[in-house]
Structure formats: C-alpha cells, structure tokens
C-alpha cells in the first residue's frame, strides 16, 4: 500500500498551475488588494447594522392581555408537565411525558454527544418504567407489552446513535456511548432478574400456604372416604378398585392446581421477555466493543510506527542538507 501511496504522490505532483496561469492570477490578486486596502474593508465592516433578537418584545409591549395569557399558559403547561414526569405507561399523562417533556429536553441537547447521552438516559427511563409496571399485578398485560416494546424502541434509537458516530469515523465516541449503554442495560438486567426472583419466591410462599390448607382438607376427606371404603369393600371388590383409582387421582390434583395458579399469578412474562431483549442488545454491544477496541489498539500502533518513521526521515533530511548549505557559503 505504501508503494501505491508513493505512486499517488508522484502522480499528484504533475498537477500544478502553468506559469501563465500563475502570473495572471497573481496580477488579478494584486489589483484586488490595491483596490480593497485595509481602511476600506474595516469601514465596510462597521457600516453593517445588527438587528436585535429582542426587537419583537418592543412591538409586543402594548399587548398586556396577550402577555397574561402567555404567563397563564406557561404556568398551566408547567404544572401539567411536572405532574407528567412520574407518569407510567397506560397513564393519561404518559404521552405528555414522552411527547412534550422528553422532546423539549431532547432539543436542549445540541451536540451529537449530548444527544447520545440523552438517548441513553431515555433507555434508562423506559427500563425504570418497565420495572415498575412489570412488578404490578393490577396492570394489564397489554400495557406491560407496550412498556416492553418501548424499551426495545429506545434501545434501538440509542444504537442508531452509535452507528452515526461510527459512520462519522468518531470511533472514540461510538465506543464510549456503546459502553455506557451496555452498562445501563447490564444494571437493569440484574435488577429485573432480582425482581422476578423476589416475586416468584413470594408466590411460592403463598402457594405453600394454600397447598397446606388443601392437604389438610384432603387428609380429612381421605379419612372419611377410607372409612366408607372399608365398610363397602367387604361387600364388593370392584368398588374397591374404583376407589383406589379415585384416591390416586385426588392425590394428583393439588399439585396440578398449584401449577395452573403459578402460570396465572406470576405475570412476570413481560419482565422475562424484556430481560431477553436487553441481554441480546447488551451481548451484541459487548462483542462490538471488544472488536473495536482491538482495532483501535492496532491503529494506534501503526500510527506510532509511522510517526517514528517520519521523525527519522526528517532527521536524515536535516543531516543531508546541513553540509551542503555550509559549502554554499
């Protein structure tokens, strides 16, 4: 490749202005400089008028009613948006939170880096909502699904920001954003997992209690049936067999019931799905970061080598040029 670059440099040196072109341009520039001397340019600069960005306020001075309406609007709007900050998916104020509050804060973030940070903060906000919504049994499954999809959507948005940095060759920032996002996802992955464990262990305790009550009930029932059976069995052996079958079936029943209760009650499916989603994103990010870091280190080394080579070349040039200049003297 070095050879190719050398060839390219060689080819590029052939591109230059002809002597006529160069002298004609020189003449034109000299004429321009003489026609536009120092004083003339600075005068032109001072003659410019600047319109104040607040000039509209002067015009609006007479409209007192208007200003009162504006202030009232700001106050009401401010209260609504403040109240909306704590809203969860399914809440009336939730669209205000995502559509107004967050959009306004997003506009404040001007630089690409600030935008990326804000996108990560949004992912964090969606995960917090998922955490709260997921652990509440009263929330319908559609709302939980909506919150889960929101997490996915915002995580994709933050990932797009990384791609943007990458396209812009800003791998340092791409790496930083990717690492931050992966860290946030990892933290919430752990927290959501803990929530699920906590919830299932609580449910297990409830189920145990319920199962104990059922066992007690069934043992009472069993004793009574046993008593009846012994009296009947002596008369008909076929009934005995039937009874024994019924008994085994009854023994099975409590465990089957508890299983169905677990499925109905748990409601952690959306949390589990969210964990799967964010784990997938995090693993992809970590894989990407690893590869990029290796590439970054490789490039750093080649840059170092090139720098050393350039320094050596310069040293050699000065060494060669020094004696010749002396001889000229």
């Amino acid at each position: 490749m070095r050879n190719l670059l050398k060839q390219f440099k060689k080819g590029s040196r052939e591109v230059r202005l002809t002597v006529e072109e160069k002298s004609a341009m020189r003449q034109a520039l000299l004429q321009f400089a003489q026609e536009n001397p120092v004083a003339h340019t600075s005068q032109a600069k001072n003659s410019r008028t600047v319109v104040s960005p607040y000039s509209f306020m002067r015009k609006a001075r007479g409209f007192k009613v208007l200003s009162a309406t504006v202030i009232g609007g700001i106050l009401i709007g401010g209260t609504v948006s403040f109240a909306a900050e704590g809203a969860l998916p399914g809440n009336v104020l939730y669209p205000v939170k995502t559509g107004v509050n967050e959009r306004v804060r997003g506009v404040v973030a001007v630089t690409p880096q600030a935008k990326a940070e804000w996108d990560i903060a949004l992912v964090e906000r969606r995960l917090t909502e998922m955490k709260e919504v997921g652990s509440l049994e009263s929330i319908p499954s559609e709302t939980k699904e909506f919150a889960r999809k929101n997490v996915r959507k915002y995580a994709e948005r933050a990932q797009r920001r990384i791609v943007e940095f990458d396209d812009n060759d800003d791998d340092e920032r791409a790496l930083e954003v990717a690492e931050n996002l992966a860290r946030v996802l990892q933290t919430y992955e752990k927290e959501l997992l803990e929530d699920i464990h906590k919830k299932t262990s609580e449910q297990d305790n409830d189920e145990d209690k319920q199962a104990n009550v059922e066992i007690k009930k069934s043992s009472k029932f069993k004793k009574e049936t046993e008593r009846v059976r012994t009296t009947v069995s002596t008369s008909t052996p076929s009934v005995k067999i039937e009874n024994s079958i019924n008994n085994t079936e009854r023994e099975k029943r409590p465990s089957e019931d508890t299983n169905s209760i677990r499925i109905k009650k748990s409601g952690t499916e959306s949390l589990e799905k969210t964990i799967d989603d964010i784990r997938e994103v995090r693993e992809n990010l970590e894989k990407r970061n690893k590869e990029k870091k290796a590439e970054y280190e490789r490039r750093k080394e080649t840059r170092k080598e090139e720098g050393q080579k350039e320094e050596k070349d310069e040293e050699r040039k000065t060494y060669i040029s020094a004696p010749s200049s002396e001889s000229e003297r």
Partner: protein, 169 residues
C-alpha cells in the same frame, strides 16, 4: 503591519502556496477551471482577513481551511443540479466507468483517477495527508474534527483505496 508590508506578505504567501492550494482544489473538485476559481477566491478571502488585521496562527492550515469551505460551497451548488438536467445540458453520463481510464493511463495517473471515485470525506483527508503533506493535527484544525476522527478517516480512506485498486487493477 503597514499596507505595503502587508501586500508583500500577501504576495509571498501566494507564491509559496498557490500551487499546493490549486492541487488540493483540483483533487477535490476534479475540474481544472473550478479549481482555479476556488484558488483565486481563497486568496481573495485571505487578503480580506489580512486587511481586517485579524490574527493568523497557522498560515498554511488557515489557507486550507478557506479552500475547504469554498469547496464545500461548490459541492452544495453541484447538488442543486438534477441528474437529468446534467445529462441534457452538459452531456454528463452517470454510467461513466473509470476502469477505461485505468487501463490507458500509467499507475500514478490511474491512482489519481481512482481517488476521484472515493467519497469526499475520504478524498478530503487522503489528499490533505498524502498530497498536501499536512499533519493529522493540521487536518483536524482544517476540518474541525478531532485528531482521532481524522486518523480513523485516513486509515479507512487508505483501506478503501486499496480495495478499489484490487477490484479494478
């Protein structure tokens, strides 16, 4: 600086940098006449800046910065043309294949033709680094990017040139 001394400094700068600025413009615009116009405009703006008695830290980087801004303006002008319009008015053919050029010219010329096909963000840094001989720091100052971004971009530009060369050579 007095007026005459300023004029002298201006002409000296022109003699020293006219060719390199022209070369830079040529590789970015792939058009000799446009490159000449932009070179002249670069020095006009440089004079205006001198006349306003503003401080210039790095003369070479400053000239490249002016030229770079003017080239970006040229690109914007170019974008306003539709492809149909270009085909009708100036006979521009979209399907021009530079491979034909590569076969007829010698290696260095072929490479120059190849570099003209690179996306501008890569062409920009490649030309500054390997034609103009600017340092990464100077390129960063001209383009307004960080040094890291510039070095990544140079690296990718070289990689891209290499793949293009292997594809068509």
């Amino acid at each position: 600086m007095k007026d005459q001394a300023k004029e002298g400094y201006f002409l000296k700068s022109y003699d020293e940098f006219a060719d390199v600025i022209f070369r830079h413009c040529f590789f970015r615009l792939s058009d000799r006449d446009k490159a000449k116009d932009v070179t002249q405009e670069t020095f006009i703006r440089f004079w205006k800046y001198l006349a306003e008695e503003k401080e210039i830290v790095n003369q070479r980087a400053f000239l490249y910065k002016i030229a770079n801004n003017l080239i970006i303006d040229e690109y914007r002008k170019k974008e306003s043309f539709s492809l149909d319009q270009m085909q009708e008015e100036i006979g521009f053919d979209v399907g021009v294949d530079f491979r034909e050029d590569l076969e007829t010219k010698d290696l260095s010329q072929r490479l120059v033709a190849l570099i003209e096909t690179l996306p501008d963000k890569y062409r920009e840094v490649l030309v500054m680094r390997h034609v103009d001989g600017l340092s990464v720091k100077e390129i960063a100052r001209v383009t307004g990017e960080t040094e890291n971004v510039v070095s990544v971009r140079i690296h990718r530009a070289i990689e891209k040139t290499k793949t293009l060369y292997e594809k068509f050579a």
